[in-house]
Amino acid sequence: MVTLALPRLLLARDSARRAGSMVERNVAALRSAYWIVMVGGFLEPLLYLFSIGVGVGALIGDIRIPDGRVVGYAEFVAPAMLAASAMSGALSETTFNFFGKMKFMRLYDAVLATPVRPMEVAAGELIWAMARGTVYAAAFLVVMTLMDLTSWPRALAAFPATVFVGFAFGALGMALSTFMRGWQEFDLIAAVQFALFLFSGTFVPAQDYWPPLRMLVEITPLYRAVDLIRGICLTSFGAVQVVDLIYLCALFAGGLALAGRRMARLLLK
């Protein structure tokens, strides 16, 4: 058993190292302009939280959440903003940027002539894509806690969950990018993304939707992410949240595997 497992472990370690070298390349490519992008990415969810959560929330007042409790609208919306920003951050890195690197910079052609494998490139790029999202998630959770929209222990638990949501969407975005032929098709992704943003139980509890629409919404990834994060930040972590986690795990694993396979098909021909 041990003799069989050991070489495998060593191989996994090599793979992790090679994925890490891909991350290193991105760190080296980091230039000053990047900080502008960073600030923008952090501000976006915050602006939504203030304008809609606090601003519109003042008109709406309190709302009743599924477990029967009555909470302020900002409390209801904040976890959804967190999940949605994890999604959009991950998608922008893994669609636009990844596609540009693959198709226009032809960056990976050179990388794949080294021992690095397509799957390792995909994993490295995904880790890198999430580095930024991780900082955003932490900052946003701190703001939420300071505004008393959640508690410190809940925020602490929501942090890894948010990062994981980012990984799942990142893997999905990467897989999608490998099917894109030109920039125009990204408009389609952006449109779908915006629809998800509006209708995933973000601003209104999905229970209030017309039943067929509700069923449709419940199988989309952002709904599951919002449900998970809201469960941790606001309500409770139960069986449904376990389903959310399994769903996102499957999205992550499936997306990454598909991205690796497609990259090999596109670049190694």
Binding site: R25, A110, P115
Partner: protein, 319 residues
């Protein structure tokens, strides 16, 4: 670097590239159509052939970034389909089109690339410095890649291919686009690598490059190998020892074709001159004068690989 026998090339029987019936298809089209190749350790091996002959397609298969469609391929004794990553760890690759990283500096292009091979940061920095020196780019180390001239980028790509101290280097048209100085610099560097025992596999359109660098070469055309051997062997087999280039002071050189019949082994009429393939050039020129044909110029030169190449693959552009 201080080799006691600088001009002795040690070639072993070990095959670093072993291909049998190797095929690469893109859809229905066979870019490489069943070639047999063996490259032995320590030799410099060349692929020649007109545009579209399948040289780059072959190089990519050898570099384990393009799966063969059929046939047998072993690189460093391993199967690319199963051990691609391990093989690539020991290869250096300079592709036909530079694919440097535009977001990194010249030096970072080498250090980041070294990291892909698992080379430590310290060693990577050291190698980058040595290699930049090797290709005379040290003064541009902190520059980005974009503003470099085409020739500088080419040299950087060649340097990058050496960052993992490869056993075998694959160079797809390494000197295309270089000025004469840079070309000679690259030739000299490649020659030094060869002396260190590095196996070189290269493609080229420059016949002088092939004659200078290659111990053995194959000429490809339409995805197949049409000739192979050492440069000397190919010249002996497919050409004559010397070539006489004659020009006549008339617009139509063709009229003289018949009058020259029998002077050499072979004769070729071009729009601006006539080529006579002969064993003894001076003797042929004497014969031309004996027939009192009066060419405006008669140049005797040694036959080159270029003559072989044109003879084998034709003078007209077919594609």
């Amino acid at each position: 670097m201080s080799d006691p026998r600088p001009n002795v090339v040690r070639v072993s029987d070990e095959s670093l590239v072993h291909a049998r019936g190797l095929v690469k298809r893109f859809g229905d089209f066979a870019a490489v159509d069943g070639i047999d190749v063996d490259v032995r350790r320590g030799e410099a091996f060349g692929f020649l052939g007109p545009n579209g002959a399948g040289k780059s397609s072959t190089m990519r298969m050898v570099g384990c970034v393009s799966p063969p469609s059929a046939g047998v391929l072993r690189i460093l004794g391993m199967d690319p389909a199963r051990s691609g990553s391990r093989i690539r760890a020991r290869l250096g690759v300079c592709p036909q089109v530079d694919n440097l990283d535009p977001e990194l500096t010249v030096r970072e292009n080498l250090t980041a690339y070294a990291r892909f091979f698992g080379i430590s940061r310290r060693v990577a920095r050291q190698r980058a410095a040595e290699l930049l020196d090797f290709v005379q780019l040290s003064d541009r180390a902190s520059s980005r890649v974009e503003p470099l001239s085409g020739g500088m980028k080419r040299r950087l790509t060649i340097a990058r291919s050496l960052v993992n101290e490869p056993e075998m280097v694959l160079l797809d048209e390494p000197t295309t686009g270089l000025d004469p100085q840079a070309r000679h610099l690259v030739w000299e560097r490649l020659f030094r690598l060869k002396q260190q025992g590095v196996t070189l596999v290269l493609t080229t359109h420059y016949m002088d490059e092939a004659e200078q660098l290659c111990d053995r070469l194959v000429v490809m055309d339409g995805g197949r190998i049409v000739a192979q051997g050492t440069p000397r062997e190919l010249i002996e087999r497919y050409s004559t020892r010397e070539v006489v280039e004659l020009r006549f002071p008339v617009p139509d050189q063709g009229a003289y074709g018949e009058k020259l019949a029998g002077v050499g082994e072979r004769l070729e009429v071009l729009p601006d001159r006539i080529l006579l393939y002969v064993a003894d050039g001076d003797e042929a020129v004497a014969e031309v004068h004996r027939r009192s044909l009066g060419p405006s110029s008669a140049l005797v030169r040694r036959s080159s690989l270029e003559d072989v190449f044109l003879h084998l693959t034709g003078r007209t552009l077919v594609d």
